[in-house]
Amino acid sequence: MSRITKRFDTLKAQGRSGLVTFVTAGDPDMATFQKILNGLPAAGADVIEVGVPFSDPMADGPAIQLSSQRALKHDIGLKDIFAAVAAFRKTDADTPIVLMGYYNPIYRYGGDAFARDAVAAGADGVIIVDLPPEEAGELLPALRKHGLHMIFLTAPTSSDARLPAILNNASGFVYYVAVAGVTGTKSADETSVKQAMTRLRAHTKLPIAVGFGIKTPAQAKTISALCDAAVVGSAIVDVVADSSLRNGAKPDVIAADVHRFVKDLAAGVR
């Protein structure tokens, strides 16, 4: 059984929803990122999304755009990210790691090599923002061969007619994008998320994580109660940015600030 499946089973057994945290690899630098990453499970992250920085993050709002830019100053590539995941795995064998980003860095690396090296490093799944089911056929065989979950996005605009095409190839969990917009801008709305969950559950038995527009522990509490996990990204990345700006290059201090915020989010979800 994969780490992702196991983790969602455990959450179910505990009768609670999970917290998925997003941080961009290499933000603000690789050493600080590693400290942030390694401490996330203790702070209360149930699943970790590691952002693969990209020069042109078309689906992201300002917070994640800037975090990508900070990371890319250090020329962070997939090899560096795999090394960081492998280092994390020496400290934690159970918390699932999902790589999240855009298709071009993966395409450039080569689909098969990507899946192979991601799994070897200890990653469990991948979310590729600009690879919808219509285009995913070219990558799915490699992911299946090496055992990396493809986590598909569903959106408020995804019609019922479209959902089977998305969900037939989904594995691990399903990501519901709670707002039509870029990351970190609008706020997720309780009523529409509730309706969306009913719609999605009719098409899938996979756990559903909801993200985009969840910024505070209170919002995380409200939304996570409606689904299997709440995803927080931009708000965490903002803490990385603020703390770096205030403290300079102090990995311990920045990581501690991030972990404190994640603890608050986790308290909301629990």
């Binding site: 042109d56 071009n104 450039r108 690396y109 996005l153 959106a155 998305i166 039509a180 917009g181």
Partner: protein, 405 residues
């Protein structure tokens, strides 16, 4: 791998929007239903004689089509070789070929009931054309434009504002066309219900590359007729500049299956390919995925998109339309490049000899004509697309030449 010659070069894209491995629909799920809706609406419009009649009528009475095919006699004499014709797209309303596409797409948006139009622009030609057609139909218009481009294309920025458009400066990245396109996509995803995204070039997710090509093919269709009337035959060579490649695909597409017609696309070599400061995605790029399609891209070993450079804002883009990527790989079209300096020289030669100030974009095509025409026989018919007029560029050119205005 052996290459099997297709029966036709004009059949693409396939039903999933692919030209060989290029093209496709690489967009976020939130946008996917919209892209499918645009495709459905476009297919319905294509089958509706009323839509075609509307476009033909606006092309004739609003844009001023057909644009002239002009024998450039003095340039021909000066170069002493091929007989050179200019396809005068710069004479269209708004001063470039961009109006062809905007009329088509905005008539489609009206059919779809959209009231708000967004667009990206580099040189401002597409932004001006979009703002113009929006003004004509009373639609709200928002144009995204990089801050660097706003600086070097001030006249067009003011024109857009006069036409009632909001111009949103984009500071992110390099402040050029690619960043403007990112920002337009972000706007679209946040305003899916009300908004139609009018992409300015033959790139982006399917059906845009095909749709924009169809609207621009009026260029090549007219050339075929006009040259037949003037010379009684097909051209021997057709040449156009390429950023995303919309004027080029519009000129090329009607001739793709005429084996005797040599087709040449001219990319922007900036300060020279070897310097790395260029915008020639086919010459200096590799296949990748950006802005909804797979195509040749300027990128580094990690798949990060590199900054393009061209003196011409309209060519300053690290990618190229996917149909061009395919035509390059199947070797139907020859893709070459011209540097900033070569384009600046062509800009001046064309102005002095023909009394036509070309857009800096079009000057890249003229630059290649200067290179090859002298070596060609006098009965060689060469058609170059004068995609836009250069009024917008005179300040930038004056700067580059060190002239004080």
């Amino acid at each position: 791998m052996a290459f099997v010659q297709p029966n036709t070069f004009r059949a693409g894209a396939d039903e999933n929007g692919h030209f060989g491995i290029f093209g496709g629909r690489y967009v976020a799920e939130t946008l996917m239903p919209l892209i499918l809706e645009v495709e459905k609406a476009y297919n319905a419009a294509k089958a509706d004689p009323k839509f075609k009649a509307d476009i033909t009528s606006f092309n004739a009475h609003y844009a001023g089509r057909p644009s002239a095919l002009y024998f450039a006699e003095r340039l021909t004499q000066h170069l002493g070789g091929a007989k050179i014709y200019f396809k005068r797209e710069e004479l269209n309303h708004t001063g470039s070929h961009k109006i062809n596409n905007c009329l088509g797409q905005i008539l489609l948006a009206l059919r779809m009931g959209k009231k708000r139009i967004i667009a990206e622009t580099g040189a401002g030609q597409h932004g001006v054309a979009t703002a113009t057609v929006c003004a004509r139909f009373g639609l709200q218009c928002v144009v995204y434009m990089g801050t660097k481009d706003i600086e070097r294309q001030k006249p067009n920025v003011f024109r857009m504002k006069l036409l009632g458009a909001e111009v949103h400066p984009v500071e992110k990245g390099t402040g050029t066309l690619k960043d403007a396109m990112n920002e337009a996509l972000r706007d679209w995803v946040a305003n899916v219900d009300t908004t139609y995204y009018c992409i300015g070039t033959a790139a982006g997710p399917h059906p845009y590359p095909t749709m924009v090509r169809d609207f621009q093919s009026v260029i090549g269709d007219e050339v075929r007729e006009q040259l037949h009337a003037a010379e009684g035959r097909l051209p021997d060579t057709v040449i156009a500049c390429i950023g995303g490649g919309s004027n080029a695909i519009g000129l090329f597409h009607p001739f793709l299956d005429d084996a005797s017609v040599k087709i040449i696309g001219v990319e922007a070599a900036g300060r020279g390919i070897s310097t790395g400061a260029h915008a020639a995605s086919l010459t200096g790029g590799e296949p990748g995925v950006l802005h909804g399609n797979r195509t040749y891209l300027l990128q580094d070993a990690n798949g990060q998109i590199k900054d393009a450079h061209s003196i011409s804002a309209g060519l300053d883009y690290p990618g190229i339309g996917p149909e061009h990527a395919w035509l390059n790989d199947v070797k139907r079209v020859e893709y070459v490049s011209a540097t900033d300096d070569e384009a600046m020289n062509a800009f001046q030669v064309c102005s002095k000899l023909e009394g036509i100030i070309p857009a800096l974009e079009s000057a890249h095509a003229v630059a290649h004509v200067l290179k090859i025409a002298p070596k060609l026989p006098k009965d060689h018919l060469l058609v170059v697309c004068m995609s836009g007029r250069g009024d917008k560029d005179v300040f930038a050119v004056a700067d580059a030449l060190g002239a004080k205005l």
